[in-house]
Symmetry: C2
Subunit: 369 residues, 2 copies
Amino acid sequence: MSYEIIDLINKWKIFAEDLDSRHVLFMFFIASTKTSTIPGISVAGPDPFSTLYTPTLDVEYLVLGKPRTIDMVPITPEGIPTPALITKAVFNLIKPSYLIVDSGVFREPKIPFISIPHKTVGGRIDEEDALPKDFAHKIFEESRILGRILSNKKMFIIIGESMPGGTTTAMSIIESLGFKGLGRTSSSSPNNPVKLKIDVFKKALARQGSFSSDYDVFRLIEIFGDPLHISIAGFVIGALERESKIMLAGGTQMYAVLSILKRLKTDLNGKIIVGTTRWIVEDITSDIKGLAREISPEVPLLYTKIDFKDSPYEGLKYYEKGYVKEGVGAGGSILTAQIIYGLSIDEIKKEIFREYERLIGSGYVKENR
Amino acid sequence: MSYEIIDLINKWKIFAEDLDSRHVLFMFFIASTKTSTIPGISVAGPDPFSTLYTPTLDVEYLVLGKPRTIDMVPITPEGIPTPALITKAVFNLIKPSYLIVDSGVFREPKIPFISIPHKTVGGRIDEEDALPKDFAHKIFEESRILGRILSNKKMFIIIGESMPGGTTTAMSIIESLGFKGLGRTSSSSPNNPVKLKIDVFKKALARQGSFSSDYDVFRLIEIFGDPLHISIAGFVIGALERESKIMLAGGTQMYAVLSILKRLKTDLNGKIIVGTTRWIVEDITSDIKGLAREISPEVPLLYTKIDFKDSPYEGLKYYEKGYVKEGVGAGGSILTAQIIYGLSIDEIKKEIFREYERLIGSGYVKENR
């Protein structure tokens, strides 16, 4: 098969049983954390400050085919474009329902989006709290309301995200909630700055003074987290209350969401899966399987076996060297196209190449062959 | 049957054919027009200025069970509560997916909602333009984008609204677009201020000087309209592009949306219906059937035959005297419960009475028996 299911305690069958009859909805949560501006932390933008614009440009490009706030598709310092291009290509094929949710982005996107009350840009966690007091709980509850009103028992909701710095705050959330996070989250760079990330966490710890992972979950998120993961966790709980089924479409970051859900004693059995890419699962600088085993063995981990070895474009071949890997629901959208819409990897790749060509044609991406 | 279908040119059957298999989504568009503050125009609030808060309080109550921005459920000067209570009661029973869209409300609601770029509160059309230059087209296009991304060919989308002053601007839109609007739109008061509404339109005309209904549709909306109806029209066109089916859940106002759609030469055959209440269809101060015949004979008009003659509460008996009648998708939500969910009028009424009782119990409504 062109995708694989890592099903640690045999829950995929329960999850999959009525999947075909459900209404598919994609949700993209966006937010910013100033943690992404720490030099060396994130390559999800041409330079540290620009990473604050990436979520906005990602979703504008996804919705409109081109960005609006700044006329620039997010690229790494090497010029490799955002993984949103994969999601966009898949959407060209399957035309699903989808929505954007702003949980606290630096610049509101210039497209219709759902606004979460109390949304706020996350602080730089090595120097300041991630969120003002009580905001983690507020953002959680507001997002839960959204999950509750939007979803129902006939829905399959695929949740993607865009927030540079997210693997750093995710690591920090996982670790602070009492799981083993350090050195386990991935990166959009092949040179995962693990040491720097751990330094950031240590500074957050030092800033905080005394600390125990038994602290209130919401307080821990305010110190060590960001607005995004707590918002997704709230949304998921609201949607599960209405019996939706959920795919967390992302890499190691989604285990920050799962660590919150587990600490809140949410029943996840047969209700939720993680969907990502081969590049994440094979990444030797992180450990998604270890995260899955420790945090949520009842949550099947799916990944698409897509590869860009035969890509005519260098920018995509870079994925095979460990660049980008995942983001903006890229892996989950491919998996959805495979599993629900029955598309082949070849059809999907052909459209990704076409979309890449289009980005070159419109001048957003330079091809350095 | 406890609902009736006025199907002028035999399109209901085409519309209904695959309805049961579609995913139901309710959308509530809210906006404000300062036209509602003209004394005597609107009773959708305890006084003219308060009508500006009504949409916000309506949707907060719908989502949370109680308002948040001000601790007050919208009432008429007589103390009769908002028709949102009907929608709320129906939602207690059917628990559908739904979303709120802000197209330009005076106060943003304190709940998750979709924000439309360029949204703006509408001007008082007897004194000033409804919208700044180019905004009608911008709001239309942004809403169309929302319709396009959110919907797909497996959806049935029911669109409700809350905007006091809406029957006045709707009348003005219909008339300015070249249909017969004057004296044909309804009111939440039994004493429909038809003369005053026509005066407002005449003042808008005089303010404008020369005028022809051949003008660009968007320019006419900027002079005579409001942000709400053009936003709904844009959304509908976007959703129809994706083959969703649509119910416009409202009274005579929805013919302002249809008049825009017709002027834009949208194909509506078998794709869209209007759903409302008996109180609107039987209203002698307006003419929904005339509007249907003239503007969109291909769009079936459905109405629920609910009555509150046997209501234990005076506030609901007032509906039988011509108060309130419709709003916040009340008629369409009852029809959806009847047609899609197979509920009986008696079950629905029982829950409406329970919800009314709850509003009395929590002190939001006084019962003057």
